[in-house]
Symmetry: C2
Subunit: 563 residues, 2 copies
């Protein structure tokens, strides 16, 4: 029997009808002093780093990490569950602050039209968050491109550092989807116009500066990480750093204001910190350390999310972000939907409306693998089955029974339609798991493991692979990495998000596969080694009908077309 | 006899020691309602367009336009006089609001290290204004580059509009000095990476969107102007517009918040609106119409400036900005210094410290020409002789006597050292000239004049040339312009700022020259025809030792290196 749902308005309609409190009212609920906020309009504020110093001795709130099964085109609603769970915990009287990533303008103008949760579990003001917000990403774009201009100017002015123009790894960025900038030749036009060379643009959120920004603990750490960034190699193939160019001070100055975490509110006036948004493949895909730390000082609970599925986002949160953060999550929520599980069971998107228990049975193995991954870290967890209008009673029962049989804690959520109310069961389940937990978190690898060991541990334990195959190019890069003393860094896997394997088409729980490591790229400033298993797109393109074509603003400044 | 001056601190030191009032206190002095401001931190606010609607019936404040002689490397201090005069008028009890341009990050990181007045006539917070401020320029960068991405995506997706990829005039921008981006080839890498073509980047302030932004009267006008922008030509050489691409709504949405003028304060807490900053050669070089209109509704007097000397900035203010603004200035201040006049008299920069009355006598002809120009518009004016430590008594006397002999109102200013106090004489002189004035403003040409007539009028009356020489390329472009019905638009001269002529080396008051018009480029969205007399650099380069190398920020977030 199918359940029905009444017609619901779009996300932007819900957002625009929502009554927001002034952000100063949200601030008043929290332990923040007047001098510690910078208002950005009536509904956004930046928070001073001073809060962290002042509350240094205060116990940190318990961090709940929201992750998901491997994403599918059916959509899982990870951000929506993150917001909904935060709202639910506040409804239960637990002082909770949400910590999320900032959306990039590129996908907003391109395909998505906006991303800040959905329905009655959104962060507000939705238009601002999806457009320029408080300018953080623009500051990162500017710092990234200022560095690029300094590199090319250095070369033009005599190239004292003997930078090899064929080996510059630093690319320019725009916060847009612009495929025509992927591969370019710059410096054309003669001797006064710079030195010609091949170059390319990434989307800003793929900049190493975004990763650095999100892992820095304070301005000092930010400057030190920026200084360590390797921009390319000299004619002797020795790394050239930002410090060599002497611009870490200027770059830090450009990021000074952006480094203050942003406070906004949800539909139900729960406080939400939205700060930083690195890619989840070539970077670690989590909001800033400063944002999470701030949330943990201001709330007794923090609900935060990581990019893509648990194989990428959660693994990186636990191996890359946790050391900077200084503490680990107390519980993990794994978001799944009946529709997405059925796609992992082999259905195509247009087959999802029909009940199909067989597909569910096959697809649920994907869920199981992610559960095992979280177990291997020693962390308590809850499956959040995020309900959708087309789910049937039988399908939902199947998942419930399966979880029961496997002793996997789970809860149904209806956070899109009902906001926090729809996340209460999940909130209760999470609190109960935290209560029962013995807190036995262990990372799967340690800094002293070799790069090969780290790769193998991730591939076997997290992906369920038989091992890794490191191709000759990557082997050569590995020698450089070890030779330069970067071998202690954690690994940042750049793998397809759609599959546990490195083949996007292998859904469910693939068996008998190895992970092919094609390239190993050091992100020394961020502090990780990116392991590429295939071509990772760091500059998206626009579709034939970009979302921007539907966007508009009326004479009173009211936005339309951000869904 | 040389006068001496005690050692003075740098601009940033003065700025950082200044005590700012909270911007809410500045707002309280003005007719602004609580709902009409958006705070950006404690010392900056954006002002709602609603103020203009609410005060529509209120008489506009009197606008005082600050311009200058042809700029020299000696520096004139036009912005400093603008701020100082505003402060002086407030000291005299005249409710005055300053309206200025936003500085671009490119020159700040490159040569200048900052630009927001100087000494005790600065706008604050100096660091913010010189870095990202409220993000307006970043919004313009984003809108400009979103349009570029839409153009290349349109071509990649089948090129329905048959855009000729060799005739795309729309360039990408960054708000940086980056010479390596002047001439590039994009779209390389094969069929999935876009269509290869020649392209180039300008600095953001040279974007037509900046000019559009600064001339728009409201969001509706902004959208209409954006829609009219010509991005290039199709295979039949017909113009292709933003409207053809259907993205004017999205671009307006990206500029919605930026279009609200920014309110800050001076060292002496005078209100200052800083909004928009277009190039003064290929664009009109004045802060936004909305900013000036807002200042005129909030103050009984407005002090505003235009770019470069009176031959470019003031002429464009009066022919291009005035029609959008809806009213004209009531008086003009022409800023000069003894040092700059001596350079116009033939001295090099290292000869300026020595008294030289002969050079002064020759160079003062440059001042005279600008006076005649302002007279030709029928506007009252005052020369502001901005004093400098190396000026001698005899030199200052010479200028005073010369002005007296020619019945030219003049006043000495010491606004850098003394703030408003140093501008009191100027303020009194300006008020007296406004008092005496019969308000006989007449533009030098009318829309119905032909393009040739307009060019000739500017060349003869403003520059003192014998006429114009329109080269064949420009003649051909003129045919297109007239054919497309753009002939009624005003002219925006892109000429060297250093000379009244089109040869940067001809200082003073050149005689017997003609102005060579090399190209005529329509900026249909902005609403003017750019007449290029030579190569105009729309993407600066960095020097060997960029200002950025000295910039830094400490652990508490305190900036250094912005001078």
């Amino acid at each position: 029997m199918k359940r029905t749902k009444t017609a619901v308005p779009s996300d932007i309609e819900i957002a625009q009808q929502a009554s927001m409190k002034k952000i100063t009212e949200i601030v008043e609920q929290l332990d923040i002093e007047e001098e510690e906020i910078e208002l950005y309009g009536k509904y956004k504020a930046k928070l001073s780093h001073n809060i962290l110093n002042r509350l240094a001795q205060k116990e940190n709130g318990k961090v709940i990490l929201v992750t998901a099964i491997n994403p599918t085109p059916a959509g899982e609603g990870k951000s929506t569950v993150t917001v909904g769970l935060g709202q639910a915990l506040n409804k239960l009287g637990k002082k909770t602050v949400i910590a999320m990533r900032e959306p990039s303008l590129g996908p907003t103008m391109g395909l998505k039209g906006g991303a800040a949760g959905g329905g009655y579990s959104q962060v507000l003001p939705m238009e601002d968050i999806n457009l320029h917000f408080t300018g953080d990403i623009h500051a990162i774009t500017t710092a990234n491109n200022a560095l690029a201009a300094m590199i090319d100017n250095h070369i033009h002015q005599g190239n004292e550092l003997q930078i090899d123009t064929r080996r510059i790894t630093w690319k320019r960025v725009v916060d847009l989807n612009d495929r025509a900038l992927r591969k370019v030749v710059i410096g054309l036009g003669g001797a006064t116009q710079g030195v010609p060379r091949e170059d390319g643009f990434d989307i800003t959120v793929a900049s190493e500066i975004m990763a650095v920004f999100c892992l820095a603990k304070d301005l000092k750490d930010l400057k030190a990480r920026l200084a360590r960034i390797v921009i390319g190699y000299d004619v002797n193939q020795k790394p050239v750093t930002v410090k060599d160019l002497n611009v870490e001070g200027a770059l830090t100055l450009l990021l000074k204001d952006a480094s203050m975490p942003n406070l906004v509110q949800t539909m139900e006036h729960s406080p939400a910190i939205i700060h930083g948004g690195p890619f989840a493949n070539i970077a670690h895909g989590c909001n800033s350390v400063l944002g999470t730390q701030m949330a943990a000082k201001l709330g007794d609970y923090v609900v935060t999310e990581a990019g893509f599925g648990a194989d990428l986002g959660a693994e990186k949160f636990l191996h890359i972000k946790t050391p900077s953060l200084g503490y680990h999550p107390q519980a993990v929520v794994i978001v799944a939907t009946v529709r997405a599980i059925k796609m992992h069971g082999g259905l195509s998107k247009d087959q999802l409306k029909m009940e199909n228990l067989e597909a569910l049975k096959l697809g649920i193995e994907n869920v199981k693998k992610h559960v095992e991954t979280i177990q291997s870290f020693g962390l308590p967890y809850v499956i959040a089955l995020n309900e959708f209008v087309t789910d049937t009673e039988a399908e939902i029962s199947y998942v419930q029974e399966w979880c029961k049989a496997h002793e996997i804690p789970m809860a149904l959520t209806q956070v899109w339609e009902k906001g926090g109310e729809g996340g209460l069961k999940l909130a209760e389940a999470v609190l109960s798991e935290i209560e029962k937990s013995n807190d036995e978190f262990t990372p799967l690898y340690l800094p002293e493991n070799t790069v090969e060991q780290k790769l193998e541990i991730i591939a076997k334990t997290v992906y369920g692979a038989e091992g890794v195959d490191i191709l000759p190019t990557a082997q050569k890069q590995l020698q450089l990495i070890v030779g330069e003393g970067w071998g202690h860094l954690p690994i940042c896997m750049a793998k397809t998000q759609y599959s546990l394997s490195d083949d996007a088409k292998k859904l469910g729980r693939p068996q008998n596969f190895t992970i092919t490591i094609r390239e190993l790229k050091p992100s020394v400033g961020a502090g990780f080694i990116v392991a590429l298993t295939g071509n990772i797109m760091t500059m998206p393109g626009l579709p034939k009908e970009p979302a921007a074509l539907k966007m508009d603003v009326d004479e009173q400044g009211k936005a339309t077309g951000l869904f």
